[in-house]
């Protein structure tokens, strides 16, 4: 029993220090197609003001917030390293107002569709790395930590989102499939000039907290107050703006 206690404690500490996220090594978009620009994996979570984990229902008017940490930067952010021990690349989606969950029984499956409108996003570069990880995620409310630790530092990119559509389905087998999808566009931030205001896709999976004591396949238990664990990405805009330069800089490219 003692050895298992030590193992659990050490694993918790290791998890915060040893998560290896990838810089631009995994960015190989198909030629002539926009690829992933920014991805998030282990460390991203959602919470709402009026959501029931027991019924999986978001009430009309509920305010959704998503916070997380970047795991991969690709072009035009490939120079940024999400594994930098001195920099915390975090993000927030907020201002998202629920239109209310629509439940649709389909055969023996149940589909839950929720649309959120009016939202935006901001991505930050902060120091030190103080945002929680999956291993240290606190229950909510966590004043001073959530969302504070995800919105400190310099905003490198911010923008708007059109309707965020979240769909999860309790399938006929009892397991849950899930997805989220929205269009985004940039409006500001220190790196805005490299992205511009073109529209592209923000999408991924939306792993909900299980509605009961059991953990069906496709659900993600989380500390109290959280509603889901998203995993997803921002795609590169279709047209990345040209960068201003000087004649001298251009000449150096051809020496």
């Amino acid at each position: 029993m003692k050895s298992r206690i030590w193992v659990a404690a050490v694993m918790g500490l290791l998890a915060t220090a040893l998560s290896a996220t990838l810089a631009n090594a995994q960015c190989n978009p198909a030629p002539n197609y926009p690829g992933v620009m920014i991805k998030f994996d282990a460390d991203a979570w959602a919470y709402e003001t009026a959501y029931s984990t027991a019924t999986l229902i978001s009430a009309p008017g509920s305010q959704l917030t998503v916070v997380g940490r970047v795991s991969v930067f690709c072009s035009p952010f490939a120079d940024l390293d999400p594994t930098d021990l001195n920099t915390d690349y975090t993000f927030i989606w907020d201002g998202l107002t629920s239109q209310g969950t629509v439940t649709t029984p389909i055969g023996s499956s149940m589909r839950y569709t929720t649309k959120y409108v009016g939202g935006g996003f901001r991505i930050y570069a902060g120091s030190p790395r103080n945002a929680p990880t999956a291993a240290t995620l606190p229950a909510l409310p966590a004043p001073g930590v959530v969302p504070d630790a995800f919105v400190d530092g310099t905003m490198i990119l911010g923008g708007g989102m059109d309707t965020l559509v979240v769909i999860f389905t309790r399938t006929s087998t009892g397991s849950y499939t899930s997805s989220f999808r929205a269009n985004y566009w940039g409006t500001g931030g220190t790196r805005y000039d490299q992205v511009g205001g073109d529209v592209n896709l923000l999408s991924g999976a939306w792993c909900v907290v299980p509605p009961g004591p059991s953990t069906p396949l496709g659900t993600c238990p989380l500390p109290a107050g959280w509603s889901a664990h998203p995993n997803g990405k921002w795609d590169t805009p279709l047209s990345v703006p040209a960068l201003p330069s000087t004649w001298g800089k251009i000449k150096t490219l051809y020496r």
Partner: protein, 235 residues
Amino acid sequence: MKRAALLLLLALSVIAVPAFADSDVFLLGFAGYDYESPNPNPGPDPGNYLNIGEGYKALGFVTDFGAYLAPYVNITANEYTYYYYDLTVQNYAYYPEFGYLEVGFANPGRGRFYEDSHATGTPAWYGVYPPNATAPSTFIDGTVFLGGHIEYLVLSYDFGANQGGFTGNIHFDEGSLLSQIPLAQRDGWTLSGLAGRPNPAIPDGYDHQISGECRIPGPVPAAHRTWGALKALYR
């Protein structure tokens, strides 16, 4: 002596551990695309998509490693890819009035994760209309660092919203890093969101863009105990 040991045990039992240490944990994340192969009825439209007997493939790049694997990967020296295959549609249900498709796959399918040296290997390229000259071949060269059989995979898709997802069990049973996952934690599972057309990121011949992860059972948790509860263990 016995009292000292019990006091020590009490102190150890209240060491702070993650609140959900007994929950499953993140193993790795991925992004990529999926496609049908074999695909005797081509086309992503509801009537032609993932009919019974058709094959489902997914491939792409590993984008993140959790604590169990992170110390043993070198993201500077290597490219990390994944490939899900041997997934044949066994159950099919399409509800046109809801625009909803749900398919199940015959057990087992297979999932493999690869490590390929940048210096000596071949960069992975999607190309178009897979299988092609580079997909899946450039995604499945290198060393299998982890692999397993996939069971009870279910995929659902909403044609009205152009999005869906899949989830299934994956039991890890091979790979150079298999030993880094304790035996009791190898019954993992996988999930992914699917984003379909209109989607400018999807190369011709692929069906959906994928973003997902694999998770495994967590370690045995520490449990908080009172002094009275501890004493009761030794009566």
